[in-house]
């Protein structure tokens, strides 16, 4: 019986293709809006969120805003992370420089730091060695290159052969001591890919400064993040004699939590807007179904005369609304998949044109399964809710009145 009703529904949908399509259009657009928007937002923010969490939730960023005439020296860091909840600390001093390469020059970010930095950032060596304690002590002119910087500065040179080679910035000659593996966490915190790492003391000397203004610290494990944050704050408070404005501690966990809540809000907001358009589509369906019921009054009368029960008339029109919604939903999901694919191609092509380097063909955006499922459920609901009234109207018709209808 249900199968028969579905057949009947399909038949009457196919009987007026243009009208059915226009009716579906509301659902198609609604589903597309829902699926595409939510998929894009989810993909975009989740890639940022995942690179942040790849650096670890146990990371703290401390910036010193006002040292009150008592700058923090490098060897003070160990004292600040003396608590058993804190593991390591590494200073960071950011500056930039141009590296001469033939006739042109390349902008690089120079990060002055210590050995612990690579550990904290999860940076692995591809070749050579990292910045050592003596390097920092002596301020030797050595540099560890990020993978991208190495590829840019020493084109077509095997990584192992880069070690020991030199390059020149405006005022300094560096010897390459190590090259890092590729890492995506670097871009996440806003640093350029062309990063070179030099001993902390060297970068300070170049800048004519002597103080630690930025450093990273990590908690001993994920369970002690809260305790570690308190201890770190306490230590800094003590160091700056109770001046809370002197420093700022940011927990990576807070950051990623904030980010994921922003992502959720965005998805919800866009999903809500899309859901409204879906709702409007549903109203369109109800409208057309009402017209259709009126138009087919005589047919309903005939069906009732030859033995259709209320429930079979009800089922017929309800299924018609439902089938329209689900076909619309299917078309909408298919169209969304195409749109997401196009967005992927455009963004890949765009980034390929920008970097002109090696292009990895990974799709940055993907169709979110959850939202596809949600759109199917939502479409079904809309079909039922907005089909119910017209179907009920059809089912309640009195056969003689319906038969008499012209």
């Amino acid at each position: 019986m249900i199968l028969q009703s579905i057949k009947m529904a399909l038949k009457s949908i196919l009987a007026s293709k243009m009208r059915s399509f226009l009716t579906m259009l509301g659902i198609i657009i609604g589903v597309m809006a829902l699926v595409v928007l939510v998929s894009l937002v989810t993909s975009a923010t989740s890639s940022v969120a995942s690179s942040i969490s790849s650096m670890g939730n146990d990371l703290f960023t401390v910036s010193i805003r006002d040292d009150g005439g008592e700058p923090i020296a490098l060897d003070e860091l160990d004292k600040l992370i003396a608590s058993e909840n804190l593991a390591q600390a590494a200073p960071q001093f950011l500056s930039s420089a141009s590296v001469r390469k033939g006739t042109s020059s390349i902008r690089v970010n120079v990060i002055g730091t210590t050995n612990a930095y690579f550990n904290i950032m999860n940076n692995k060596l591809a070749a050579g060695r990292l910045i050592s304690l003596p390097d920092v002590k002596n301020g030797t002119h050595v540099a560890v290159l990020s993978n991208e910087a190495a590829a840019e500065l020493f084109e077509n040179v095997v990584i192992n052969d880069i070690i020991g080679r030199t390059f020149r910035t405006d005022d300094m000659l560096y010897t390459v001591i190590g090259v890092l593996e590729k890492s995506d966490s670097v871009t996440a915190i806003g640093q350029q890919s062309y990063a070179i790492y030099v001993p902390f003391s060297l970068s300070l000397r170049l800048a004519g400064s002597a103080a630690v203004t930025n450093f990273y610290a990590t908690a001993i494990d994920n369970n002690s993040i809260d305790a570690a944050e308190i201890d770190l704050n306490l230590a800094l408070l003590q160091r700056f004699n109770g001046n809370t404005d002197a420093y700022y501690v940011q927990s990576m966990r807070t950051l990623s939590e904030t980010l994921s809540s922003v992502q959720d809000t965005f998805a919800l907001l866009l999903g809500g807007i899309a859901a409204i358009s879906l709702l409007v589509g549903g109203i369109g369906i109800m409208n057309i179904m009402l017209v259709s019921v009126t138009e087919r009054t005589r047919e309903i009368g005939i069906r009732k005369a030859i033995g259709a029960t209320r429930s079979s008339i009800m089922a017929q029109f309800l299924l018609e609304a439902l089938v329209i919604c689900l076909i619309g939903c299917a078309i909408g999901v298919a169209a969304s998949a195409i749109v997401v694919l196009v967005v992927n191609l455009v963004s890949i092509y765009g980034s390929a044109a920008a970097s002109s380097g090696s292009v990895t063909f990974s799709m940055p955006y993907s169709l979110s399964g959850t939202v596809v499922l949600a759109s199917v459920i939502f479409s079904t609901l809309i079909g039922v809710v907005f089909g119910l009234y017209p179907a009920g109207k059809a089912a309640r018709m009195q056969p003689i009145q319906a038969l008499r209808y012209e």
């Binding site: 009457s12 005369a305 030859i306 033995g307 259709a308 056969p399 003689i400 038969l403």
Partner: protein
């Protein structure tokens, strides 16, 4: 076997009441071919609707194959229509976007007959009306006569105990009309009970038994004038019913509804179909006509 007992049906147009059916009783035996003839507005369509259970009587009893339809639910009525009654309408009432075969198949679908059996029954029904070759056509692409044949095929495909034909020849030219009548006679000869409602005396005369309806009252015209089929009049017979059922029981409102006028009607009409005993019962009931009439009105309001 179809039996109507003291059927009343009123319509309200504004404040005025139209007695579409006024104490109609009749019984139709299996295999009869009964014509109901009357001018427009006589109540024949209402009778058809009641017989076809498309509408229910205000009061009175309708027994279809010894089952009273009075207390049936909406879906039970639909099933009864589906199994026991086949309709043939003046304007054919085929569903335009379905093929002839699909139209004929529809009652079987509602009956829940399996596909293979359905195909067979549809084929059989179309053969009976001579439309085997037209099954895949849509109603619009065949002639009116063929459409009516298709409608007849749809009516008989469920092998109903009653085929109700409402002006089946009304939209057809006389030659085609004759063909359709011929077909109905064939079906009747094969055992179908047929009630044909018409305003056309020539058509009505071709039935086995004739009932006249006028102003909601039924009277027995005896066997059809030309006696095309004597079958109905002879064997099974049709009778205007006059059983002395207590009027108050059959219809709570009848007693108060101006029995005196009713009496007049009866005598005016020649006493057909309404027995003296019945009329007498009404007369007695009329004693407190005022009281009952007011009750009656309340009941009517309640029904509306």
């Amino acid at each position: 076997m179809i039996e109507l007992r003291h059927i009343y049906k009123d319509y309200y147009i504004g404040d005025s009441v139209v007695h579409a059916l006024n104490d109609v009783s009749l019984s139709i035996g299996d295999g009869a071919f009964v014509g109901v003839v009357g001018p427009s507005g006589s109540g024949k369509s209402t009778l058809m609707n009641i017989l076809g259970i498309l509408d229910t009587a205000d009061c009175g009893e309708y027994l279809l194959d010894n089952t009273s339809v009075a207390d049936m639910s909406d879906s039970e009525l639909a099933q009864l229509r589906n199994r026991n009654i086949g309709f043939v309408f003046q304007n054919f009432n085929l569903i335009g976007r379905m093929s002839i075969a699909e139209n004929v198949e529809l009652p079987l679908i509602y009956q829940g007959v399996k596909l293979a059996k359905r195909r067979l029954m549809v084929k059989e029904a179309l053969e009976k009306v001579g439309l085997s070759e037209r099954g895949h056509h849509t109603p619009n692409s065949i002639s009116g006569g063929q459409q009516q044949r298709a409608a007849i095929a749809r009516a008989l495909v469920t092998r109903p105990s009653l085929i109700l034909a409402d002006e089946p020849t009304g939209n057809l030219d006389s030659a085609t009309g004759t063909e359709i009548m011929q077909l109905l006679h064939e079906l009747n000869a094969a055992g179908s009970t047929i009630v044909l409602i018409t305003h056309d005396h020539n058509i009505a005369a071709q039935t086995g038994h004739l009932l006249h309806i006028m102003d909601g009252k039924l009277s027995d015209g005896g066997a059809g004038g030309h006696g095309v089929s004597g079958d109905g009049a002879g064997g099974h017979g049709v009778s205007g019913h006059g059983a002395a059922i207590k009027n108050g029981d059959a219809c709570g409102r009848g007693a108060g509804d101006g029995a005196a006028i009713k009496n007049g009607d009866v005598s005016g009409a020649g006493g057909h179909g309404v027995s003296g005993a019945d009329a007498g019962g009404r007369g007695a009931g009329g004693a407190d006509a005022d009281d009952s009439a007011s009750t009656n009105n309340e009941q009517k309001d309640g029904r509306q």
